[in-house]
Symmetry: C2
Subunit: 186 residues, 2 copies
């Protein structure tokens, strides 16, 4: 657990394209940090339904390693605040096999290409999420919501961005999308 | 899983002491491989009783790292044959916390100091197991039971060893001992 409270705004990008925006930002001197492919495998169990308990169990594979993380239910009013426990492991396939033996099975996989940028104290993530589209996440650690909202509004205006604010996680968006698809085919 | 079938004999040592035996063996030119402290934490779950399903879930801490292992029920007639899946992790405490969140809790801890020796194709382990005493394990990979038994008999005779053969695992011995203690105090 950490005492840092991350304030974050997530936006579904309509225009321009993520590539065009990326080029404009670099042209304006915004600092490139790194690119990363993240594959997040979310699990659910035979003995407890994480959708009901608001828990999450995730394996995250990146270019640099494999993390196994438990996230507890959201705590109190700060919707981004929740207990998080992580270990790193050496082998995704074997960890999945062990979990399956315990009745804990992969439910959803979220794959995204993420570009990390920095504009002074703000972190800007440009995300291309498989099956969901292009997103911007802007966050500021240890600061006020007001400061973040002001920055986001100026940012949208300056780069003529059309976007919709999203409160859900990528996992929740994917689950919602799949449930819609399921009901369409009924 | 592996195709190697390990044939192994486990003996509870009565005399001489493990230290005396160790010194005699080294004096006879038997090869020292390494010493290791192994701490094995065995888990059980709220949703399935591993004592009934003949499964095991274990964290093994040694001087060289941390392993997380699932062992399936024993298969067929070869009592030492069972599915085994392992990953290495970086942090015991956090893995225990994650497992506890899932209703999987530490049940028993087996701590042993193990000395690995080699006598041609035979591996000899001299084990000092906390709360259980001193043991010898002799194993030979990929060979016959007859060859192993012959070696063990010659070994016991040559070093004037008094010992009892044990079929149970250290975990089973510890569970049995605790159940006895529990019933004695009733």
């Amino acid at each position: 657990m950490t005492d840092i409270i991350e304030r974050e705004v997530k936006l579904k990008l309509e225009s321009p394209t993520l590539t065009d925006l990326y080029n404009k930002l670099l042209g304006d001197g915004i600092q490139f940090i790194r690119k990363e492919t993240e594959e997040d495998i979310y699990f659910n169990t035979e003995f407890r339904d994480f959708r009901k308990t608001d828990e999450a169990l995730r394996i995250r594979k990146t270019d640099t390693g494999i993390e196994f993380t438990y996230k507890g239910p959201k705590i109190g009013k700060l919707s981004k605040s929740r207990e998080e426990i992580t270990v790193t492991v050496n082998n995704t396939e074997n960890l999945i096999k062990i979990l399956e033996k315990l009745g804990i099975k992969p439910a959803y996989t979220v794959v995204k290409n993420r570009i990390f940028l920095r504009d002074s104290e703000f972190i800007i993530c440009l995300d291309t999420v498989k099956d969901l589209g292009e997103f911007i996440e802007i966050e500021i650690p240890n600061s006020t919501e007001e400061k973040l909202i002001n920055y986001v509004n100026l940012f949208l205006e300056k780069y003529k961005i059309k976007a919709t604010q999203i409160k859900k996680s990528y996992l929740e968006l994917l689950v919602t999308k799949n449930e819609k698809n399921d009901s369409n085919t009924d």
